[in-house]
């Protein structure tokens, strides 16, 4: 009998800026003062956006919102590493990453206000994934496409610690490895999946090691250290561009509630939440910037004022958009070309809307019947072609239904 070790693995942990705000030059990414200030501004903007979004929800102006307070370094640092042509595939907590990618605040607020307008894809950002973890496969597909085309671009997807329990996330890493996909899997381990702590999610010592079973590289980074995250994300993206996908586990902490409908006091104590002065990503980075002389009181105040002005404009804009929501638009983007039955449903809906309040039988679905009697609605040419002439049969069927009346 033979028994010997055939494989051995380890997982590295990276930190550039420690809790005191001291920088380890070996781990520090190459950034100039302008970038440093931009990273700082983005983190502050993200924090204030979250705070304002939560306040809007509390006032009943918007719906459920998932703040990323405490996770700004993980999101801003990683999204900052992306090039314009790279793809980002986020989940529902990635406001800070969207802002870093240049998404306007009012879009994020529209989404929170329950408007599809907020999810419009722009600049190679996917809309937020609401199902946990399933988006990792889209990132694998995008990254595979980039590999097939031999593009210089890469794809980065975000998910939480809870998501690593989903089969989809494992499948995504595994196929990416086999297909040399240009994909970076960025796990924000914020220690909680709603009420379930990280240790109850997996017995694995690190989440980064989940990469090992897929045969790709896994690495841990201090997720509250924006410079460490930026460096690790840049390296991971570089590796992915060469067909070597990477899983990054960013160790961070969700400082506030899971979403505005959640009450963390039910499942974690203030002791668990600890002292955030030392661990807060913004406090730490600010200390460093001040020590380095990149930031002083005046500059900090100026940045804060600009952010407040921007947010008040953007919130006005979000409110303005909300006033103009057209319910009938729900029919417009289901297909590139609206099929006849759906168009009939839309017309019936509009008629019903315009007759709202009026009583009597002259209402929406009645109109629908009238249309059927007239021989059905016109069918767009392309649909008719696709259907190979069956559109006429459809009309006959509709008439038949009506004849019985």
């Amino acid at each position: 009998m033979v028994r010997e070790q055939v494989a051995e693995f380890s997982v590295e942990y990276v930190q550039a800026l420690d809790e005191e705000g001291t920088l380890d030059d070996e781990q520090a990414p190459d950034v100039d003062d302008e970038d440093l200030l931009e990273l700082y501004r983005l983190m502050r903007l993200a924090r204030r956006t979250d705070e304002r979004a939560v306040a809007l929800q509390r006032r009943g102006e918007s719906g459920t919102y998932a703040p990323g307070i405490g996770q700004e370094a993980a999101q801003v640092g990683s999204a900052f590493a992306l090039a314009r042509d790279d793809w980002m595939v986020p989940s529902f907590r990635e406001s800070a990453a969207y802002l870093t990618r240049g998404a306007p605040v009012h879009r994020l607020l529209w989404y929170a206000m329950g408007m599809e307008e907020g999810a419009e894809v722009a600049d190679r950002n996917m809309p937020p994934s609401i199902p946990v973890g399933s988006q990792a496969l889209h990132a694998a597909g995008l990254g595979w496409g980039q590999a097939i085309r031999r593009d210089e671009t890469a794809t980065l997807t975000y998910f939480g610690d809870g998501a690593t329990s989903q089969g989809d996330v494992y499948e995504a890493m595994n196929v990416s490895g086999v297909l040399d996909a240009h994909t970076v899997f960025f796990c924000q381990n914020n220690q909680w999946a709603i009420s379930v702590p990280r240790e109850r999610q997996s017995r694995a010592e690190t989440l980064a090691q989940k990469a090992i079973s897929a045969g790709i590289e896994g690495i841990q980074v201090d997720g509250n250290d924006v410079l460490g995250v930026l460096g690790v994300a840049r390296d991971a993206l570089e590796s992915a561009r060469n067909g070597n996908p990477v899983l990054v586990e960013a160790l961070t902490y969700r400082q506030s509630m899971h979403t505005t409908s959640d009450d963390p006091r039910v499942y974690r104590s203030e002791d668990d939440e600890g002292d955030w002065d030392a661990r807060d990503p913004i406090v730490r980075f600010e200390r460093y910037l001040r020590d380095e002389g990149v930031l002083d009181d005046d500059r900090a105040a100026e940045i804060a004022d600009d952010i407040e002005a921007l947010l008040s404009d953007e919130i006005d804009r979000a409110r303005g958009g909300r006033e103009e929501v057209e319910p009938a638009e729900m029919f417009d983007h289901v297909f590139a070309e609206t099929p006849p039955e759906l168009r009939r449903q839309k017309e019936a809906f509009e008629r019903e809307e315009s007759e709202e309040g009026e009583t009597g039988p002259a209402s929406a679905e009645d109109g629908l019947r009238g249309e059927r009697e007239a021989g059905g609605a016109e069918i767009p040419e392309s649909v008719e072609k696709q259907r190979d002439g069956t559109a006429d049969e459809q009309r006959d069927e509709d008439d038949e239904v009506d004849d019985r009346g």
Partner: protein, 322 residues
């Protein structure tokens, strides 16, 4: 004896009583333990039944697949899927395993699993938290699907589901969880699966609804100038056709209401059954008042999507004037 409680509390009461009665009943899922479920349907149960209530990792395929295995080990699994829209992450376990285990094993192995899932709109939830795809479950042979509309039925149907030897999906209408306090029998209360309830009797038109749409229908009937008979289907599969047919034979007119999209929705199935067995009693075509064939809109547009009392009332008026 009866107490006045909300639907969500009735669910909790059924779980509590069934776990006390039968220690093979295992309640588990995402956040159901310490957190008591995101809707608090399992509040404090983990303290009362530490051996029967478990938080699981975030994995629906695991949650539903575990149920098949737990059943094999002699348990009665009662998993919660946090929102019905995430049942798809484990749909294959329901379709490929849970629903057909009895049939594949020629009756030797059953899966007495009860899957609870909140469904439906009306609570300004996030995107993908409001779907009602009961027709999808009803389409799977070997699955039973119930949709309680009020607290008493929530308790009674869930109790029956847990005791049922086959897999049952319980769709809990989120908009009714805390809508009202109603009288619910204390102690054992079983509402048999597969039996509709005539909520109010009438002679002129039959209105069939289930889940959240029952309350809207009752409101519509109060406003409508018609003597309507309201049927709460309660179990959408297997469906109590007899209750619908008997009523339609009496009234000659029928409106079916559902929140789910129109195409392929259960209203179509009901119309087909009426065609099969009561066509010549009809005095007008059966009317459908349903959601539209669009993805359930985010909440800024959800009120426009969901049938409400007004739309249902107009549906009733239409069949009456046809």
């Amino acid at each position: 004896m009866a107490n006045e409680i909300r639907l969500v509390e009735a669910i909790r009461q059924a779980l509590d009583e069934e776990m006390a009665r039968d220690e093979s009943v295992i309640v588990y899922g995402e956040d159901v333990g310490v957190n008591g479920g995101v809707f608090r349907a399992t509040k404090d149960l983990i303290e009362e039944y530490p051996e029967q209530v478990y938080d699981t990792p975030l994995a629906e395929a695991a949650i539903l697949g575990l149920g098949v295995g737990l059943a094999g080990a002699g348990f009665r699994p009662v998993p919660e899927i946090q929102f019905a829209s995430f049942a798809y992450q484990g749909f294959h376990q329901l379709v490929q395993h849970a629903s057909r285990m009895r049939s594949r094993t020629r009756g030797t192995l059953g899966v007495p699993m009860t899957v609870r899932m909140p469904y439906g709109g009306g609570i300004r939830a996030l995107e993908l938290h409001s779907e009602s795809y009961e027709a999808g479950f009803a389409h799977v042979p070997g699955l039973k699907t119930v949709v309680p509309a009020n607290p008493a039925d929530a308790k009674g149907l869930l109790t029956a589901a847990i005791r049922d030897p086959d897999p049952v999906i319980v769709l809990e209408p989120t908009s009714r969880y805390r809508a009202s306090r109603e009288s619910v029998p204390e102690g054992e209360h079983v509402v048999p699966l597969g039996e509709a309830e005539v909520v109010s009797e009438g002679e002129e038109v039959t209105v069939v609804a289930w889940g959240a749409m029952v309350a809207e229908t009752i409101e519509a009937v109060e406003d409508a100038d018609a003597d309507a008979e309201v049927i709460d289907l309660r179990t959408v599969s297997p469906m109590d056709s007899e209750a619908i047919l008997a009523s339609v034979r009496k009234t000659g007119r029928c409106v079916v209401v559902h929140e789910a999209p129109r195409t392929g929705g259960l209203a179509a199935e009901i119309v087909a059954r009426i065609n099969d067995d009561a066509l010549y009693y009809l005095e007008s075509p059966v009317e459908r008042v349903t959601g539209y064939d669009v993805p359930f809109p985010m909440f800024a547009r959800e009120a426009a999507y969901r049938p409400d009392a007004d739309r249902i009332r107009r549906g009733i008026e239409r069949v009456l004037s046809a």
